[in-house]
Amino acid sequence: MARKPDMTRPRQPGTSFKGLKMTTPLLRHRIASALLTSVATVLAAPAFAQAPAAPKIDAGDTAWMIAATALVLLMTIPGLALFYAGMVRKRNVLNTMAMSLVCVMIVSLLWAALGYTLAFTGEGPILGTLDRLLLRGMGMEAVNAAAKTIPESLFMLYQMTFAIITVALVSGAIVDRMRFSAFLMFAIAWLFLVYVPLAHWVWGGGFLMTFGLLDFAGGTVVHINAGIAGLVAALVVGKRRGYGAENLAPYDLSMAVIGTGLLWVGWFGFNGGSALGAGSRATMAIVATHLAACTGALLWMLMEWHTRGKPSVLGMISGAIAGLGTITPASGFVLPWHAVIIGGLAGVVCFWACTSLKQRLAYDDSLDVFGVHGVGGTLGTILTGVFAAGAVSMSADLPGGSPGLLDGNPGQLWIQIVGAAVTVGWSGLLTFVILKVVGLMVPLRVSDEDERVGLDIRQHGESIHA
């Protein structure tokens, strides 16, 4: 752990790692924790000075959060649209993109009208209030209690982009066969009945937040949630025609690679922005995010190379997304080397889920929303309870930060497991009910013939002609 001090910047006293002799791993960890604690104390000092003052909108925080909001929107359009569309067959490329696009339109409007106020105002254990119904009362000076240094309009917009991508993620499980109108109805109901309550429980002051669940940027709310919903939707909607018999190979993986790049970079805003300000916690989250993406991609590639003989590009990008999804709840709580391990585990476990587990359980989750996001989100939520280092998350309100098992707080692991289980239960049950109700109004699937001809031409009257 020999680090070179950065000579270009003035160093705070007590932050030097020089002359540290390593003995046993345990001692090394203790020493590292102690040193980092002192680092974080120094870094957190300005926050101490600010806290008692009345909330003041900060230009730096606001600038970063505007950028982060744009990055997260970029993850859905065009990031996820390209990532998903590159993995379907040529006849369904536009339909797949349409699902991401329509999530942006519908979720944005509904979030501003009702979703935001139910998720992020008030501190009821189950749901928020209607104080910001249709954004009423959101004036120029307004701030949300969760982010007092940025305008509330920006906080609302930032959280909106999370709702958008979570609903859009689910579409990957049912592309190639779900009727567009049925997906629209599902998306609307799912936003209000599944996403909004979970966002409130975990981030908006609800019961999982008061219970102490650590979820920095959406391991439960976004990834477990979308992953479980994807699994249930894949089971309820049913397999694609010809699954296991016909060639369902991706149309253009180069599009998926471009989409992965946009998702990867956008994730800096997703996880880094979840610090809700421009500071060292945001940058530590970004460091963790990037390193986890790298080890996730690398380990998936190596696993595939070892077991299948070739390192596939689809494997590399799948591993990157697995690493990113898995580090999401932990980023902002863990140190960089924790992120390397979490990303690596994501690469191995999600590879196993998308290949062995999927074949054994014989479900047809078209683009592996469950195998990547559901499994990765669960893994990451639990590992947050293992690796969380108090030093990374300490603040004026929480001087000790949020430590996990390795930092002397084994109880956190149990909280994480309960939080993941609640998310799995709620998302799974409600997704099932919503799909059954939507299925009573309109068939969930397109006809066999439409599926054979392609959803682009039959659902949208267009084709890519490439």
Partner: protein
């Protein structure tokens, strides 16, 4: 008049074209096709899902020539398209009943 149809490996197209130009063939038609023969196909794996790709991409060349030049054309294609590996392709020869050059209305060998 004969129509020589050759199925060849895609990367051999330029060599075949040069060989035919060298013996004075004035034009040919090329299409991208798929098919299988002894070469069979290959498997592709996407996140553990294996697909057998049984139709491989090939190039189909069609050359219309006077009957007396058939042997030289076949020889030119054979020598230029050959790698010695399975999958080098095949040549088929059929008779042409009539030919017309659209611009001038010339017919048969004058049209080739």
């Amino acid at each position: 008049m004969k129509l020589v149809i050759a199925i060849i490996k895609p990367f051999k197209l330029e060599e075949v074209r040069d060989a035919l130009t060298n013996i004075g063939v004035a034009g040919l038609t090329v299409s991208e096709v798929k098919g299988y023969g002894r070469q069979k196909g290959h498997t592709e794996i996407y996140r553990g899902a294996e697909y057998a790709i049984s139709f491989l991409p090939k190039i189909k060349i069609e050359v219309a020539i006077p009957s007396d030049r058939v042997d030289r054309v076949i020889e030119a294609i054979t020598s230029s398209a050959k790698t010695g590996q399975i999958g080098d392709g095949k040549i088929f020869v059929t008779s042409i009943e009539r030919a017309v050059r659209i611009r001038t209305g010339e017919t048969d060998t004058d049209a080739l």
